[in-house]
């Protein structure tokens, strides 16, 4: 049988609201050409993010009803803690209200002026938190990861040689932490191979640099390892995950991705002293160590979700859905990141809109067009998100200009995905008419969330 069906059926639905193209033109203008500023009600298919947008299972909703809301020592916390201990092998588990709070706490402790945090590719909030501490984030993505159209099995891999050279140049003492993001979100949801993690770990060990994993999408990454890496096809995703975490000294996770939760995150580690420092900061901005700013019910939902995500029928369906959309687009000649990633389809906006220069934000222009054409909301991962200015105020563009269509977990059906493909193809045909944008207002950090733009 070729068709892969969802290993679930629908228990509760949420109606979609329809808008016309004329309405959407006006709505986009009112949102200053930044879909982050659109009301969700005005969006038909919301592919802005796969974060916090999953459909929870009936078991998770039952867990929501079992939430123990005690301020201290909640039963739900102990369920949460033991689930994460079993998954990661790490004994010290610290809940946070979401992933960025875990990062904030970690980097306030290990970061600081003159320090470098190295990675395959840091995500936007991660980088912001590192820079906020005064440290600098440095990416060493493997060469094949930098070319959207070249297919390779593990485009999220870290360039281990460049990493080691960097250590020798800057001194291991100035590199408090190496963070590997699985899968590599900013680089197209591309996986990291087990061999690469091992190689990174070897370098880290040689120079006594702790290795942390940004584990948001660990299950999707482990499934790719099972499919693509030699020696793993007969292993369960769970045992692959155990191996992956075994190479790390700690991890951060936004549970809003692979734990199917709508809110939540955590930090886990072995180092008792570091955990103590983390908990000291946790009580200031997050909450007491046994709830970390989450309702008890959310701890429960995360614990259940972490086990559901490792089901291979689910992962097969998940990865195949992304591939399905990618194949449709490739067949029509649309420039997309290849091979398909784990949680999203990435359009290469530079190739899609060759007539729009990078300082006119082709990615942002493209997401506007997709919204007007079909009410689809996506996000730019390019120079609006990662661009900086040089001393003369000239834009230093990002490495790639991508548009991410992130697919929420268990939410949309195949016919929704068919519709998305049709809308993209419509826009592709009319691409010559799309104009670039300029920024009229921006915040100093994480500007893409609130920036206001206008067409040129």
């Amino acid at each position: 049988m070729k068709t892969i069906i969802e290993p679930f059926r629908i228990k509760s639905v949420e109606p979609l609201l329809f808008t016309t193209k004329e309405q959407r033109k006006e709505l986009l203008q009112k949102a200053f050409y930044n879909p982050f500023l659109l009301h969700a009600d005005d969006v038909m298919i919301d592919l802005l993010t796969d974060s916090g947008t999953s459909a929870m299972s009936s078991a998770q909703w039952a867990g929501i009803m079992l939430g123990d809301e005690s301020y201290a020592g909640s039963k739900s916390f102990y369920h949460f803690e033991s689930t994460i201990q079993q998954l990661t092998g790490m004994p010290l588990v610290i809940p946070t209200h979401q992933g960025r709070a875990s990062e904030k706490i970690l980097f306030s402790i290990v970061g600081g002026k003159g320090k470098y945090i190295v990675s395959n590719t840091l995500f936007d909030t991660t980088r912001a938190n590192i820079e906020y501490s005064g440290a600098e984030g440095v990416d060493f993505l493997c060469e094949e990861g930098k070319h959207p159209s070249i297919p390779a099995p593990f485009k999220g891999n870290m360039d281990v040689e460049a990493f080691e050279k960097f250590i020798q140049e800057k001194g291991a003492a100035n590199i408090p932490l190496c963070m590997v993001t699985v899968t590599n979100n900013s680089g197209g949801g591309q996986p990291v191979s087990m061999a690469n993690i091992k190689a990174v770990k070897a370098v880290c060990s040689k120079y006594s640099i702790p290795l942390f994993i940004d584990a948001c999408r660990f299950a999707e990454n482990c499934y790719f390892i099972k499919l693509r890496e030699e020696g793993y096809s007969d292993k369960s995703v769970e045992s692959i995950a155990h191996e992956l975490f075994s190479y790390a000294d700690g991890c951060t996770m936004s549970a809003k991705k692979d734990a199917f939760a709508n809110i939540g995150g955590f930090l886990a580690m072995y180092n008792v002293e570091l955990a103590k420092q983390c908990r000291n900061l946790l009580v200031i901005t997050e909450g007491f160590p046994t709830y970390g700013g989450l309702a008890g019910r959310d701890l429960e939902a995360i614990a259940i979700g972490l086990n559901e995500v490792m089901d291979e029928h689910y992962l097969q369906y998940r990865i195949r859905s992304i591939e399905y959309l990618t194949e449709k687009l490739v067949a029509a000649g649309v420039p997309v990141m290849q091979p398909a990633g784990g949680h999203a389809v990435y359009l290469d906006a530079k190739t899609f809109l060759p007539h729009v220069p990078v300082d006119q934000y082709p990615g942002q222009a493209l997401i506007g067009a997709l919204y007007v054409e079909g009410g689809i909301r996506s996000v730019e991962i390019g120079s609006l998100m990662f661009g900086k200015y040089d001393a003369d105020g000239k834009l230093i563009p990002a490495m790639m200009e991508l548009v991410r269509l992130a697919i929420p977990r268990r939410v949309y059906t195949q016919s929704h995905i068919d519709y998305v493909a049709e809308v993209i193809l419509e826009v592709f045909e009319k691409r010559n008419q799309i104009r670039g944008l300029e920024i009229v207002e921006e915040a100093p950090a994480l500007r893409h969330f609130t920036a206001k733009l206008k067409p040129l």
């Binding site: 982050f36 969700a40 947008t53 005690s70 201290a72 209200h97 912001a128 901005t285 700013g293 309702a295």
Partner: protein
């Protein structure tokens, strides 16, 4: 005709229950030692009646649970955000809303936006997380609450009031420029849930306006404060709680809210301000710490539950039953001669540990000791609000607060009258045997907010 009881019968019936575990004295003893005599470190299943906090422990209504199912989990522009924004504007009158995952998230952002290094922040008594955020932002907290607040026996009806002479002395000493705002709490938690009067607020407003100083409202229990104004202040008897709440907010420039108290939710908070520039800066910061400004680190469903809960919190019948239950417990304690803070506050009973255990010096943590003993007797979990909570000054020395209290906080809509009886009886039993109780010494002290995680052993 003393003590005629005004019935506080609940304006609701029970729709769903949560089973409790009962423990034996031997089990409790073991659990307490394992928790280092800190009730915060007990597991919830070792606790019979949990009075640790009224924060996040409320029972939501069926309407709030229905709202949970209507959560719109869109990352940006969730419809629950717009609902919450509208409810905050209508109920409290503040113009701009920034949601946060809970109250301390709002305090963190507000302190970073408004406080410069060297600033002085006057307030009506400190609160643990509030003062810490002020200090971390470079400010220094100065207590300007009236003296009566520090006297547990004073029956003054508005012990949360601000002493304007104290405030004026600060303004003269430091200059208004160094005072970005007055941190004004309604229902002052550390004073025993004591209210501030409307007359005092009006006078504060007039004074601060003259000096160009903002008033920022810690509004986590504003509805309970409004109830005391209705009961005790001239001219407010015929006004609704809703009207009084809105009037309170009208004398302030902005607020931080932990919605886990009055607003009857398990998680959530916000920052609300009238000043566009402050709002804009807060909105830029919220994405760093909390989440995008239309969800602030909350699930959509939690914003919906909060919007509905705010509406329920300003209902006259709700608040009368709420405070009525607290007063019922307090009166039972008084009947047993247990020394408690008077008058009875809105969200809990505060037992005076210095008077309860006069033989234990403050260096041996009488309130911490008493909380441990009450747990041992009956499995009732309370918390310390005394020298452990007060923490250390910048120079490393301990704050020695005048009030050394054990807080019995009553979760909203959770426990019944029979539970209240058990609590009072257990406390009375400990009171009878008080002479045999020994103090504690601290064996682990965390750097910040030490009361959460400190460990003790018998002195």
């Amino acid at each position: 005709m003393k003590n005629i009881r005004h019935s506080w019968a609940e304006p609701y019936k029970i729709k769903m229950v949560e089973l409790l575990t009962m423990t034996t004295a031997a089990q409790r003893k073991k659990a307490l030692v394992a928790a280092g005599y800190n009730t915060f470190l007990l597991k919830s299943e070792q606790v019979y009646i949990d009075l640790l906090t009224d924060s996040g422990t409320s029972a939501m209504s069926d309407r709030q649970w229905a709202g949970m199912m209507l959560g719109d989990e869109a990352y940006a522009g969730s419809r629950n955000f717009y609902h919450l924004e509208e409810v905050v504007q209508q109920t409290y009158g503040y113009k701009y809303l920034v949601p946060t995952h809970q109250g301390r998230g709002a305090e963190n952002i507000l302190s970073k936006v408004l406080i410069k290094k060297g600033d002085i922040i006057p307030g009506n008594m400190y609160f643990t997380t509030t003062r810490l955020h002020q200090e971390l932002a470079g400010g220094k907290f100065e207590d300007v609450i009236i003296d009566e607040a520090h006297n547990p026996e004073s029956e003054f009806p508005f012990k949360g009031n601000i002493d304007l002479d104290k405030l004026d002395r600060l303004v003269k000493k430091y200059g208004a420029k160094r005072i970005p705002y007055v941190s004004m709490a309604t229902s002052v938690n550390m004073a025993g849930g004591q209210p501030i009067s409307m007359a005092n607020l009006k006078a504060l407003r007039a004074y601060t306006k003259r000096h160009g100083i903002k008033v920022i409202h810690d509004m986590t229990r504003v509805a309970e404060n409004a109830y005391f104004i209705k009961e005790r202040e001239k001219g407010y008897k015929d006004k609704s709680i809703r009207q009084i709440v809105k009037e309170i907010c009208s004398y302030t420039d902005g607020a931080t809210m932990s919605a886990k108290k009055d607003a009857l939710v398990n998680i959530g908070g916000f920052l609300a301000v009238n000043d566009w520039d402050v709002f804009e800066e807060a909105r830029n910061l919220v994405v760093v710490y909390e989440g995008l400004h239309t969800y602030g680190g909350l699930a959509g469903r939690d914003m919906e539950a909060m919007a509905i809960g705010i509406g329920e919190s300003v209902d006259d019948d709700h608040i009368r039953a709420r405070v009525g239950q607290v007063i019922y417990l307090g009166q039972k304690m008084i009947e047993y001669d247990i020394p408690i803070v008077r008058p009875i506050g809105g969200h809990g009973i505060f037992v005076d540990a210095k008077k309860f255990l006069p033989h234990i010096p403050q260096e041996q943590y009488p309130a911490q000791t008493l909380a441990a003993e009450i747990y041992l007797d009956s499995g009732v979990r309370t918390m310390e609000r005394g020298v452990v909570s007060a923490g250390r000054k910048a120079d490393g020395s301990n704050y020695y607060p005048k009030l050394e209290l054990v807080r019995f906080t009553i979760p909203r809509r959770v426990y019944t009258q029979a539970h209240m009886d058990v609590i009072a009886e257990s406390t009375a039993r400990v009171y009878q045997n008080r002479d045999k109780i020994k103090g504690l010494k601290m064996i682990y002290e965390p750097k910040y907010l030490r009361f959460f995680q400190a460990r003790f052993e018998k002195a």
